[in-house]
């Protein structure tokens, strides 16, 4: 291992000694053990061990390209969709290995929602974007057949659309044009629409990849409020480049550094006030990264 060196030129061993074991009182939503991810021959994550607790906000921070998105995608197995990706190690969600053979991927991804780094609304109307998931899961029926049988859920759909849009701090801006195409929204609006869309299927966990990177301060603070609200019922894992944001909203913070190392993980207050490792302190205070 001493052959490999990091950006700073420090030998890798030193990093591992900096790593401190961290335990939680409550249940772990995710228990990740010895997770390695490779893209072809490039190793994007190295031996990640982490427990992510239920009903709290966990922030992932670290410099660009250090594997935050990769890690996030491991949690709902979206990495399986990348041809080059290879995953080793285990990820357990509520004590069940999600990389086991008997896992229903569709169900898993329904329970673990995701907001992507790039906003990716469907080329459909705003309403259809939000109602898409519930309609596909049969929670809402607006088809011709259900209309004929009298089970028309339009009203419920209206409610759902409004609730999700309000949750994502978008309702005021789009309430009068729900039938317009979502591609006509601005980048920040699209991002909030994607958050609303993820809320609509009522997942148990929400993975967010820099949800506020294209937002103005007002919308950002709305999203931050939303995240804090969500954490009362849901488990939220959020990637952010904004230190203040991580400090404000998260309960735990995990710091990744270049090369795919999880260098430090612990209570947000502790990480920001008293980091164990010099490199993490440098990163947080902006000396490196």
């Amino acid at each position: 291992m001493s052959v490999e060196t990091t950006v700073n030129g420090e030998p890798e061993e030193q990093i591992e000694t900096e790593w401190t074991e961290y335990g939680f009182g409550g249940d772990a939503a995710f228990s990740v053990r010895d997770l390695d991810v490779y893209y072809d021959d490039d190793r994007a994550l190295r031996s990640i061990d982490i427990d992510i607790p239920e009903e709290s906000v966990t922030a992932l921070i670290g410099p660009s390209g250090c594997g935050k998105s990769t890690f996030l995608r491991c949690l709902n197995r979206m990495n399986d969709r990348i041809r080059a990706a290879r995953i080793e190690g285990s990820v357990a969600f509520r004590d069940r290995d999600i990389y086991g053979t008997d896992v229903d991927l569709v169900e898993l991804r329904r329970r673990i929602g995701m907001v992507f780094q790039q906003p990716n609304p469907f080329p459909k109307s705003i309403r259809d974007n939000i109602a898409y998931g519930p309609r596909k899961h049969g929670d809402i029926n607006t088809g011709l057949l259900s209309r004929l049988l009298g089970g028309d859920d339009r009203e419920r759909e209206e409610e759902l659309v409004e609730r999700c849009l309000r949750g994502a701090a978008l309702w005021e801006e789009v309430s009068d044009r729900l039938d317009d195409n979502a591609l006509g929204l601005s980048g920040g609006q699209q991002q909030r629409l994607c958050i609303a869309r993820a809320l609509a299927v009522d997942p148990e966990v929400i993975l967010m990849d820099e949800p506020a990177s294209a937002l103005d301060p007002i919308a950002t603070s709305k999203i931050e409020d939303l995240v804090e609200d969500l954490a009362e019922e849901y488990t939220v894992v959020i990637v952010t480049h904004n230190m203040q944001q991580a400090a404000r909203i998260s309960d735990q913070t995990a710091v990744f550094l270049t090369g795919g190392h999880l260098v430090e993980y612990g209570d947000t207050d502790q990480i920001f006030e008293n980091p164990q490792s010099q490199r993490v302190e440098d990163y947080i205070t902006g000396k490196f990264g």
């Binding site: 709902n76 969709r81 991804r109 992507f116 990716n120 998931g133 596909k136 299927v201």
Partner: protein, 520 residues
């Protein structure tokens, strides 16, 4: 231009303004000359005609001389800094190459043909001149290389035309070439080439050379190209319309009530009709295309979905790719023979031609194109849409059905439009598997359906009878002289054009509908 000499700068600005308007005039003159030359090639004006009592080739000569002089003059003035310009100091190889080629051909032709030197003299002379021109064209200032060679060429052509070296009665019959060039075609072609050259050069001069000048030149060339394409299309359509519309609209009258009766379109052919028409052929073409679509679109799109979404990219998909590309470029007569030898004997006793076989064969021809274009369309749907849907816990097939396919529909329809254009005009396979003379009555596919008491419970005799189709009708009338005059064939071609345009219109409208749904 230095700001300290304010007065000289304004004078220079004035001069530049004059030079630029002169260049603009030269562009206009050259474009007019080009149009005249095109009209001449199309024989709207004959080469030995005269316009306002001036012989056409004299007219060309004068116009080219003026344009050439203006071009050369602007170039020289710009190079000697009399007028304002922002030309580059050297022009580069790309500008040198055409100049070299121009010199090679002009010097070569003049030395060998006009002056009559042997190959030992003209070939080296041409080569030396070409190299010199190439060097000049690559290394000299841009305003010189952009104007002098081309303006010079125009002046040269003008001299040739005005001196009567090449007249309408001139012919050139090279020994080793199978064709003879006559003055009637050479004169307009020369005039066209020279005026295109001066138009290009002068267009650059109007913007003072440099990047903006090149932009103007490119704009002119691209515009000329687009215009040329468009006129070719218009010419083709106009030709068919001119030949066919008269006959096709013969005997048109307002029928009972508000209806219009167009005998050629609504009648069959035979003893019972005052004017023979192509209605059975129209109906036949419609059913053939419709049947082919019903057969090919689901199969093609289905295969495309499988290949694009499910199949692992590997040897299998490569083989399928090669096979579909090959099938698409297979000549239609091969499909026709396949249908004749394989499908016909299995569909009807005695292997009589029938509509169903025609639908199948045209469908086979259509499948590869639908497959290729649909796959392309599906592949170009961004992965972000699929990821978004999958991350919401929606299954793979639901994702394809609700997100991928709707986004791919416009591309799929484009493929279908192209395919219909091909099969609607297909003649060879129809002759072999579906055609049965210029019959008087249209096939009645819808009325042909009968229910039977034994399996397969439906029968349709119309599908198993032979039909006529528009391309076959054109072929039969023009080529073998079956069933009437040549104008009957032209009128059929005209109607075929209209029918295909109708298919296009339907396709394009559908595509626009789906595109709008994706965008707004």
């Amino acid at each position: 231009m230095s700001a300290s000499h304010a007065s000289s700068a304004t004078i220079e600005d004035d001069r530049s303004g004059v030079a630029r308007s002169a260049a603009t005039t030269a562009v206009g003159l050259s474009v007019l000359t080009m149009l005249l030359a095109v009209a001449n090639v199309l024989n709207w004006i004959t080469t030995d005609a005269s316009v306002a009592s001036v012989a056409l080739s004299t007219l060309y000569g004068v116009a080219l001389a003026v344009a050439g002089v203006v071009t050369v003059a602007v170039g020289l003035l710009s190079a000697s800094a009399v007028i304002d310009a922002n030309a580059n100091d050297t022009s580069g190889v790309l500008s040198g190459l055409p100049v070299g080629l121009l010199a090679l051909s002009v010097v070569g032709l003049v030395a060998s043909q006009t002056l009559g030197y042997g190959v030992a003299i003209w070939a080296p002379a041409a080569l030396v001149c070409a190299v010199a021109a190439f060097l000049f064209g690559s290394l000299a200032r841009e305003d010189l290389t952009a104007t002098l060679p081309w303006g010079g060429f125009a002046l040269f052509v003008a001299a040739v035309l005005l001196a009567g070296v090449i007249t309408p009665s001139w012919t050139w019959d090279p020994r080793h070439l199978g064709v003879a060039l006559t003055g009637t075609i050479t004169v307009p072609c020369l005039a066209f080439a020279a005026s295109l050259a001066t138009a290009w050069a002068a267009a650059k001069a109007t913007q003072g050379f440099g990047a903006r000048g090149r932009q103007a030149g490119a704009y002119l060339l691209i515009g000329a190209n687009a215009l040329f394409m468009l006129s070719l299309l218009v010419l083709l359509v106009a030709f068919v319309v001119e030949k066919g519309a008269g006959h096709a609209l013969r005997g048109i009258h307002l029928g009972p009530g508000l209806s219009v009766h167009v005998p050629f379109v609504m009648n069959g052919a035979g003893l019972g009709y005052d004017i023979d028409g192509v209605f059975p052929a129209i109906v036949g073409t419609f059913w053939l295309v419709f049947g082919a679509l019903v057969f090919a679109v689901p199969l093609g799109v289905g295969a495309a979905v499988f290949l694009a979404e499910y199949a692992e990219r590997g040897r299998f998909t490569t083989v399928v790719d090669i096979a579909t590309d090959g099938l698409w470029s297979t000549p239609s007569i091969v499909y026709g023979l396949f249908g004749y030898a394989f499908i016909l004997p299995r569909l009807s006793p005695g292997g009589r031609p029938n509509v169903l076989a025609g639908m199948l064969v045209l469908g086979f021809m259509l499948i590869p194109l639908v497959l290729i274009t649909s796959r392309e369309a599906i592949d170009s749907v961004p992965d972000a849409y699929r990821d978004a849907s999958v991350a919401l816990g929606v299954g793979r097939w639901e994702t394809i059905r609700s997100v991928v396919l709707p986004a791919a529909v416009p591309g799929v329809i484009t493929g279908i439009i192209l395919g219909v254009g091909r099969i609607a005009g297909e003649t060879a396979p129809i002759i072999l598997v579906a055609a049965g003379g210029l019959n008087a009555d249209p096939i009645r596919v819808i009325h042909g359906f009968r229910f039977t008491s034994s399996p397969p419970f439906v029968a349709n005799d119309a599908l198993l009878s032979a039909t006529n189709a528009l391309p076959y009708q054109v072929y039969a009338v023009i080529e073998t002289g079956v069933g009437g005059s040549e104008s009957f064939g032209w009128a059929s071609a005209f109607v075929l054009l209209l029918v295909v345009l109708c298919f296009y219109a339907v396709g394009i409208a559908t595509r626009m509908y789906f595109q709008r749904k994706l965008e707004r």
